[in-house]
Amino acid sequence: MTYSGRNKFEIARFSSDDENHINKKLPKELLLRILSYLDVVSLCRCAQVSKLWNILALDGSNWQRIDLFDFQRDVEGPVIENISHRCGGFLRQLSLRGCESIADGSIKTLAQSCPNIEDLNLNKCKKLTDVSCQALGRKCSKLQKINLDSCPSITDISLKALSDGCPLLTHVNVSWCQSITENGVEALARGCPKLRSFICRGCKNVNDKAVSCLATYCPDLEVLNVQGCDSLTDESVSRLGGALRRLCVSGCARLSDAALGALAARCPDLVTLELAQCAQLTDAGFQALARSCRMLERMDLEECVLITDATLVHLAMGCPRLEKLTLSHCELITDYGIKQLSLSPCAAEHLSVLGLDNCPLVTDGALEHLISCHNLQLIELYDCQMVTRNAIRKLRSHLPRVRVHAYFAPATPPAAARPRPRYCRCCNII
């Protein structure tokens, strides 16, 4: 207990004159244990029951994991300060997602009083600056996961401070912090060798050097998301190591088949691969990839405009676990490719989501082939103008669970067809 000396006395005082049944029957330790399973809102409600419960519910040991995202009102600075005083060393996990009014001062207090925090989510706390991260770096050496998504004032200084003070970091998210550059990422990579996940969507200044550093110094890196870092080239992506499971390089338009070849050679365990808008990739690259990365489950190939049915043939042969495949805007895909996909081992058991929107050559024939994909749950067909309503109806009759997304008006229920009587019954009688 946080204020144990004073609280023991108070608990003794309040529990002695408490006539309530539950308080008599249950020992305080058990009550405390029960309360520890509750979320913040329920705890606050319990704190209003009685003086005894107030003390028990507000005990720091109950407040190890706090998520303020669903809170009813805008969370202001003092709330965080109270929480950090109350929880002290107990606090392990705190989510302040979307608490836009939080400023550096509150985070400083937090770092001061909760040095044991391990997981901190500051998504969209837009007022925060490097000062917060410096405080965290000084005090919270046990920090493992930090999310700074959409905090635009965060710069390299933050990453430097975190890399100096938090060597245990495994998960870092600095998406849309547009001031982050290679220097910050390099410091982080050198300082936190245990890094498993690094996400920096939309950080335009993250370049080849940054990714190379991550590849060199963080051998455990499993998740890398560099969506929209458009200066990346094959050079750095080719260095990524064998631990990689999930890679997102959507929007990195300079990547070519060489990168796919290197990934195929070095990362055989890839599970998720997102390559949207990588318009230079061709069938040759996917052939190499499909030969060695047999564990692939999810692939996003949106706007890879050069790929043809050959890619689908390779994927169908090489990736038996494929679950989710997005081929939006791949305009060269035809029914033949879909047929090959539907004949593959993945189709019958795994394939559940297939995105075919804006593939103009896909026709009703493709849907007929897909009837054999028993696990199919969702198929996107927006703007496939050769697909007709009848074909969709047929697919639905074979696969009743499938959701089909297309630009067709939902069928009107037959009840509406009967015209309403113009007069009410009484008028007829009269």
């Binding site: 009813q72 009102r73 927006y382 496939c384 007709t388 309503r389 297309a406 630009y407 008006a409």
Partner: protein, 446 residues
């Protein structure tokens, strides 16, 4: 099936949002009639800065957006109204855009937008542009105009505006009013908005000289009325513009004559000369009358004033008023002869005559009260109470009006046109005669 429908609607909302955010200068939105879609094609169409939505999806999209807005974002069901945070504001804006484009006549939705503007989550200039898009489909949407006025009020209240931006704003408003009036005849709301704008300009005129605007507006409304002879909303605005011209200074008066390319005095004199009563002792020709000063001309027309006070009468503005009104009268003559049987034109004529007659009453210190003429107390001199007892009016006083030259000129002029139109079988001519007799009280002279 239900889920697929929601996904379809979500996709359409997204498509609309993409078009709205990508193309900055969209200027028109409409629903394209298409009962059934045979093709798997997006119902969101955009072509040359116009946005269209095929009608088959409107029902689904509207129901979906409207119910989500009302269920999730309406304060009715919440004990405390939740403050809109950045996270759901984006979603809210998307839904509002679609719903308002489809049905702009819901004030609750516009109020949501007001909340967002006050929370700085929506940009005011972007909003002005969005309203324009809404008006392109429903030019008679009062809610949109009201919201626009609210936005402009807040913009004008910000002190840091500059002369240029104000001129820009005013021009934009005039253009939008023009578009809305063009799209839909008898658009009361757009003309009303224009009047509001001009009144607003008066209050912020420290930065802006409204006279040039008045002249411009008079000119354009005159042209508009002569092209839309049945649009009384527009005539009402024209009347407002006429009243604005009453207090023009000399310089502006000259520029008015220049823009209209008319000599007002010549116009007035021509009407006078052709309708001069026979028994007047001084027979004046056009050339003769042109030489008169304002004061002499007014003295000739109204000859005698039996006002009870000693205020000095300034004849120059009075003469100007009469010149403007006679110009309007001549114009009205032409329109009535050209576009036959248009009631609106005759109503406008009533306004002109009423204005002229009230100028005469004012000159003679009279006021029409409960249908009868009574003497009016001059507010400036505030003459003693003794005189108030004599407020009853004698036949003597009215005779002064009926014998004045101006009155006789008008009377003969009106008789002439009524006679002419009656021959043509225009029922409005009879009504006009009755109006003059029984509303303006000419029954004992006509």
């Amino acid at each position: 099936m239900e889920e697929d429908k929601f996904a379809l609607v979500e996709k359409i909302i997204k498509d609309v949002h993409n078009v709205l955010s990508k193309i900055a200068d969209l200027y028109a939105f409409d629903v394209v009639p298409m009962d059934i879609n045979f093709q798997n094609k997006s119902p969101v169409l955009h072509l040359e800065n116009c946005l269209g939505l095929e009608s088959w999806c409107v029902k689904h999209v509207y129901m979906y957006c409207y119910s989500e807005l009302m269920d999730k974002y309406s304060p009715k069901f919440k004990r405390k109204s939740k403050k809109i945070s950045n996270i759901d504001s984006d979603r809210l804006i998307r839904l509002l855009n679609v719903t308002i484009l489809l049905n702009p006549e819901i004030n609750s939705l516009w109020n949501k937008r007001r909340d967002l503007v006050l929370g700085l989550l929506l940009d005011k200039t972007v909003e002005l542009h969005f309203i324009r898009l809404v008006l392109s489909r429903k030019p008679k949407c009062n809610e949109a105009f009201v919201y626009r006025r609210w936005l402009l009020e807040t913009i004008f209240q910000e002190e840091n505006y500059e002369r240029n931006s104000i001129e820009h704003l005013i021009n934009d408003e005039l253009i939008i009013c023009d578009l809305a009036s063009d799209k839909s005849p008898n658009n009361y709301h757009s003309w009303n908005h224009r009047i509001w704008l001009l009144n607003k300009v008066k209050t912020i005129s420290t930065y802006y000289d409204p006279n040039a605007l008045y002249i411009k507006e008079y000119n354009s409304s005159e042209k508009w009325t002569s092209k839309h002879v049945s649009d009384f909303s527009c005539f009402h605005y024209h009347q407002y513009c006429i009243k604005n011209l009453y207090n023009l200074c000399n310089d502006s008066w000259k520029s008015l004559e220049k823009t209209l390319n008319i000599n007002f005095r010549k116009n007035l004199v021509r009407v006078l000369a052709s309708n001069f009563p026979k028994d007047v002792t001084i027979q004046a020709s056009e050339e003769n009358l042109l030489g008169y000063s304002e004061e002499n001309l007014m003295n000739l027309l109204l000859s005698y004033s039996n006002k009870i006070c000693n205020c000095i009468v300034n004849y120059v503005p009075m003469c100007k008023k009469i010149e403007i009104l006679f110009h309007a009268l001549v114009l009205n003559n032409e329109l009535i002869c050209f576009y036959k049987y248009h009631e609106t034109l005759w109503y406008h004529r009533r306004f002109i005559l009423h204005e002229i007659i009230s100028i005469m009453y004012e000159h003679f210190g009279l006021v029409r009260y409960n249908g009868a003429l009574v003497k009016k107390n001059c507010k400036i001199c505030n003459f003693d109470d003794m005189r108030q007892k004599q407020a009853k009016i004698g036949r003597y006083d009215t005779n002064h009006i009926y014998s004045s030259v101006l009155f006789n000129v008008i009377l003969s002029h009106e008789k002439q046109i009524i006679e002419e139109r009656q021959k043509d079988g225009d029922p409005n001519a009879d009504r006009h005669e009755k109006y003059l007799k029984f509303v303006e009280g000419f029954n004992n002279v006509m």
